[in-house]
């Protein structure tokens, strides 16, 4: 299935532009017409992180006329392993501004629009309406469902990509011509079921593999060439070095783009739709959350406590709270950790930032350890407030 070009051609290319884009212009499928379409195109990249970095660099180099960058975050040292649009001197700067500077350096002819803000239900429709195409490089389910819903409601195509460890997925969602994200994944996973890259890690170069597929598809849609990745899911396994694609059907029962849609406007709260933590975990943590400093106080006073780190062994190896015993969260969820819990000590659970330990806390409390607590903010908070000499990750 080929689709008509998304964008009308600009009137002309300048002499400078002809020189710059000559390697595109001599490809018959792109040519002057295609390059003029790119010049007229307005593309928004949601997130200037792992996927957004290569996507923005190549969209800029390709000569997309207007590039929007939306990101609320600032550059952190742990981003630099994969977010190649940012450099060492950008640490601490807003990602949207740092990315814009790189885009201008690569191609000063690009009109860069900086949205140094979080994408929210209040601003998403207005921001999206100024663009022809969206590239989704966000890192969480809540934003992904919001991007999808806004794109479908506005009738805009978007190029979706997602990564985890060595696995990548990419597709083009365009409800007018094929399925949307909700057709592929009708519901988000319950909290705690699917780890994020911050919890599970990601191979840096995987971002380039998937980000480049996204740009490839964006250019095809804008110029109307080739077979777009509409109705197909591309799956990449970096360890096996295999690409496969499977069909994605438009779901006639889709709540958003199906025959009888029940979602006809944005949801009120996408965080709640995806659940930051489960209800059980939130209930367990309520009134049973201590700070890292409070834990330090308990240790210093020699209180009778049993500190359990519920992260994975490789995380424990990076940094850990002195005296903590490692028992990964999975062992709580399948129940095998419970027999290791001492009856005569107060149990203190922690993880990286407090979400996984809240899930484990629900299990522990359910098993009768009613005075158990967990550390809000996890080991990251310990590093920040108790021992800044330790590494963060």
């Amino acid at each position: 299935m080929s689709l008509p070009p998304l964008v009308e051609p600009a009137d002309e290319l300048t002499v400078d532009e002809v020189r710059r884009y000559s390697r595109h212009l001599i490809i018959p499928d792109v040519g002057m017409a295609g390059q003029k379409r790119l010049k007229n195109a307005k593309v928004l990249c949601v997130g200037a992180g792992g996927l957004g970095s290569p996507a923005l660099l190549y969209l800029a180099a390709a000569g997309v006329g207007t590039l929007g960058i939306i990101d609320f975050d600032v550059v952190d040292e742990s981003n630099l392993q994969r977010q190649v649009i940012h450099g060492q001197s950008d640490v601490g700067k807003p990602k949207a501004e740092s990315a814009a500077a790189s885009v201008r350096e690569i191609n000063p002819l690009v009109d860069v629009v900086i949205h140094n803000t979080a994408l929210t239900t209040e601003n998403v429709m207005e921001i999206f309406s100024g663009y022809d195409l969206i590239v989704d490089g966000t890192d969480n389910f809540a934003t992904r469902y919001m991007v999808n819903d806004a794109a479908v409601l506005l009738g805009k195509p978007y190029v979706w990509g997602s990564i985890y460890r060595f696995d990548g997925q990419a597709s083009v969602f365009w409800a007018e011509h094929g399925p949307c994200y909700r057709c592929l994944y009708p519901e988000p996973p319950p909290p705690g079921m699917v780890p994020s890259c911050a919890e599970g890690g990601v191979l840096g170069v995987l971002c380039a593999s998937i980000g480049s597929i996204q740009v490839n598809e964006a250019i095809k849609l804008l110029t109307g060439i080739g077979e777009p990745l509409v109705g197909r899911l591309m799956i990449y396994d970096a360890l096996e070095m295999k690409y496969r694609d499977v069909k994605v059907r438009k779901d006639p029962e889709c709540v958003l783009c199906g025959k009888n849609p029940t979602v006809t406007q944005l949801l009120d709260d996408y965080e709640a739709f995806c659940g930051a933590i489960s209800d059980e975990a939130a209930e367990a943590a309520s009134g049973s959350t201590i700070t890292a400093l409070e834990l330090k106080g308990m240790m210093d006073r020699g209180e009778n406590i049993y500190v359990v780190d519920v992260r994975e062994p490789n995380e424990y190896e990076i940094v850990s709270i002195p005296g903590a015993t490692l028992i990964p969260k999975g062992e709580f969820l399948n129940g095998s950790a419970l027999e290791k819990m001492p009856q005569d000590k107060k149990i203190v659970l922690h993880c990286k930032s407090g979400a996984r330990s809240a899930e484990a806390l629900a299990v522990v409390k359910d098993a009768g350890f009613s005075d158990a607590v967990h550390v809000g903010g996890g080991v990251l908070s310990w590093v920040k407030t108790v021992d800044p000499s330790l590494p963060s990750y």
Partner: protein, 91 residues
């Protein structure tokens, strides 16, 4: 009936790191039951408490999403590749 089952990274803790394992069964339901007996616990990551395929996990027999075929009753012909594809959100 012998089939191959592609295991996503996220579930490879159950298969000792294997990306592809062999499976057996006339239908997807049988293949998943055998998979869970070979690799205890993996079934619960694919099926919910009521035995249905979780809505954030897609299972393909060959190129077809079984939600649009016969679900767990989708036949698993000899030599077919079955792929388990969970939602990931990293970026």
């Amino acid at each position: 009936m012998s089939v191959s089952v592609r295991i996503p990274t996220i579930l490879r803790t159950y298969t000792g790191g294997s990306a592809e394992v062999s499976g057996e069964g006339a239908t997807l339901r049988d293949v998943l039951a055998k998979l869970d007996s070979d690799y205890p616990g993996i079934g619960a990551r694919i099926l919910d408490e009521s035995g249905k395929i979780r809505r954030f996990v897609n299972v393909y027999v060959g190129e077809e999403d079984v939600r649009f075929a016969q679900g767990l009753d989708t036949p698993a012909p000899d030599g077919t590749q079955i792929s388990i594809i969970p939602a990931v959100a990293g970026g």
